[in-house]
């Protein structure tokens, strides 16, 4: 008998843990509440099935414990019951899949007004680039990367000149404005992940990947790398600061464009050469 009681306590304990857990998701700070809602729905449906199956099992353990001389029922199949269970399960699964696919459809379709943020990852750090006044990012190539061109922007690309170079591992975002995160990596896989935004995607060297979200809570957030990228993986952190429009624009005004950055390096070079000549 005691076996059934312990199993019962395990199930009750699981339910209580879920209700009273101090560990649960961080306050959401983006538009992806639908993901949280689908998780909650899956918890209700899936959790219900889990509890029901386990309670039924425990009932059987109590009710049909071995007694000498008693015979089990002999009934190899019950087509009707099996059919009911199959269809009920199919229905339940479909009910969970539908919202999942609907939200995925939103996730892969980026709104037109989203601002592009180019995130570049390397072992082990982050840097950022924003489109300039023309609203377009210049094309890039890994082979162009140098001190004076951290993103490897093609020097001939006119769209690249006014790109805004953020020389920090913290990026500022405007509150309530969708952002399309463009991910690129120069070496291995990485993943730009802020738990409060819920969204994530791997950065893959050799290609540009993307995802989008709309931050909706002003504040500072920590960026984590969520795809194993070698021995410094755990230390590959960055930051996001979500600001109101006015603050964001003030910050934006302070940033250097690619053209300015190139000019600064040229001046450094010229100065350096002069020093060398002296």
């Amino acid at each position: 008998m005691h076996a059934g009681i312990i199993f019962l306590l395990v199930i009750i304990g699981s339910i209580l843990f879920h209700i009273f857990t101090p560990w649960y998701w961080t306050d959401i700070a983006s538009n992806w509440k639908g993901m949280d809602d689908t998780i909650t729905l899956t918890f209700w449906v899936g959790g219900g099935v889990f509890v029901a199956v386990c309670l039924f099992m425990i009932y059987c353990v109590f009710r049909y414990q071995h007694k000498e001389g008693r015979r089990a029922e002999y009934k190899p199949e019950d087509k009707k019951l099996e059919k009911i269970l199959t269809w009920a399960t199919t229905l339940g699964v479909a009910a969970l899949l539908a919202p999942g696919l609907i939200i995925w459809n939103q996730y892969v379709n980026v709104p037109k007004n989203a601002i592009e943020v180019d995130v570049m990852a390397w072992q082990w750090g982050w840097q950022y680039r924003l489109p300039g006044k023309d609203g377009k990012l210049g094309t890039t190539q890994v082979r162009n990367i140098a001190d004076n061109n951290p993103f490897g922007i093609n020097p001939d690309d006119p769209f690249g000149k006014d790109d805004i170079m953020v020389e920090s591992d913290v990026i500022n975002l405007e509150n309530n404005r969708p952002v399309k995160i463009l991910l690129r990596s120069v070496d291995v896989l990485h993943n730009w992940y802020v738990p409060q935004f819920r969204a994530k995607m791997d950065a893959v060297p050799g290609t540009v990947t993307f995802y989008w979200f709309e931050p909706n809570k002003v504040g500072e957030y920590e960026v984590l790398c969520a795809e194993y990228c070698g021995v410094g993986h755990y230390a590959m952190r960055g930051g996001v600061e979500v600001q109101d429009k006015a603050d964001y624009e003030a910050w934006l005004g302070e940033q250097e464009t690619f053209e300015q950055l190139s000019a600064r390096y040229e001046k450094l070079n010229v100065d350096g050469n002069k020093l060398a000549k002296k």
Partner: protein, 612 residues
Amino acid sequence: MSDEYDNNKSYQAQSSEVMDGSTGSVNPDIDYVRPSEVGEQELYHPHSFIEKWVFCQDAKVIGVQYFLTAVFTGVVGLILSWLMRLQLGFPELAGFMTAEHYYQFVTMHGMIMVVYFLTALFLGGFGNYLIPLMVGARDMVFPYVNMLSFWMFFVAVAVLMASFFVPGGPTGAGWTLYPPQTILEGTPGAGMGILLMLISLSLFVIGFTMGGLNYMITILQARTRGMTLMRMPLTVWGIFTATVLAMLAFPALLVSAIMMTLDKVLQTSFFMPTILKAGEVLEYGGGSPILFQHLFWFFGHPEVYIVALPAFGIVSDLISVHARKNIFGYRMMVWAIVGIGALSFFVWAHHMYVSGMNPWFGFFFATTTLIIAVPTAMKVYNWILTLWRGNIRINVVMLWCLGFIVTFVNGGITGIFLGNVSVDVPLSDTYFVIAHFHMVMGIAPLMVIMGAVYHWFPLVAGKMLDEGLGKWHFWITFLGAYSIYFPMHYLGFIGVPRRYFEMYDSPYMTSAVGMNEFISIAAFIVGAAQFILIFNIIKTLKTGKKAEQNPWKANSLEWYTSTVPPEHGNFGDRLPVVHRWPYDFSVPGAKEDYIPQTTAPSEVIHTEVEKT
């Protein structure tokens, strides 16, 4: 089973087996079984100690060899997990451990447990021991190749273990070995370590192919008279389907291992794009890291079912025997095993929702993944419906089965979270994933392995394992493992990423420190509890109670050998003839509550047994 199955006809009413058209209320021809079409297999009997115990061709010895080697790797994997948990729970006590070490332990733990422990144990261990016995064969059809299979596996394990001792140590690339980092500086063991890993995996696949051919062909061709496919124990169905999966899936692993070896050694660029490393552009270009992921998971997802299907099969048999009741919905169970196996080749990219592959794949793979939940759920229903109205022995074997049901359903449900593409986005690469797959393909199959060990030990060793020690072993393992992995899901909800050597002081993660300490303590205890089994086995072998033949009163053929433990050739002079499925328990009208597969219909003429 025939189509008349539903009509609830008893044997007296059946005429389909009557071959000569004669009439009569009790026809002697109801015992008719088709004669065998091929002669008996000639066995090579060992002539020396080495042939008997080392390079042995008896599948039972090979099974035990596989089992012991796999358990050895499992113990190594267990110790590695202790070291990881020490770092995660009590970093101040793990001062000796660098991030390099940690990632090497993570990688080796994962690869060992999935491939060298679970796969080898279920297919190499249980497969070899049980297939010939359960289908009524004298041995595997290719005993010599079978022997080579084990020794190839042995060499693979040796190469893997050697990587602990080479300069740079074993690879620390994560068990998924994702390029480019796997073969680049910046990942521990990117030199010799990864090469040995790739060589070891290739050897494993070669060795496994030799064994797998044996399992498949023995099941298809060497079944005894009367053993139709639909009379096979579900254990055999599970191992058979898993073997077919493995034969189709492992080649993907082999080619990806070969291509990666070429990328490493010859600087080809199968998986390597243009890479900037320490300010230098490397001599790679044009390769696709995502291609590797597709190949890896084309192997990797069926691999989950390569482990799960034998566990499904075995647990079905254990539940049926110890609940003294036929497995509920046998045909549904068989089709579910086959269906899950087939579907498992269409779901691989659900491991890659946020990998950067074309996001439109997500719709397809989420749908196929959730479809697989239906046959899986049917299996769960059938297990608990087998318990229903049973006559359940609550012994150690049954406890492991019950533990399996709880952990498997738990892990299956969390699989629905992760399979459902947009729900996977916040949870992928977090501790939720760790908790999910340990529950569903770590703990749940382990419960089955343990149940199977307690169940078949009397057959293998001729002695009964101690029930009291077994109960301690079960409860510590079950409660401990559950309290490791159940709370761990909630770390994933917080957003704690996996494969983090340490967390520093991120505000939402510091709240998890207490939980990490708790999980680590539970992991130490659960690991230590496994030594109860080893102690139990040693004690039983020395002083244990001698087992009677067929101590559990089961029906399947392995309990009806000429000697216990069975000798080479299994069944003495004459192979058994099978007349029924192995689940005729508690048949109304029968004297005992079980009817062995070898019992002819005329011997149980007054029972209401259904035709199988």
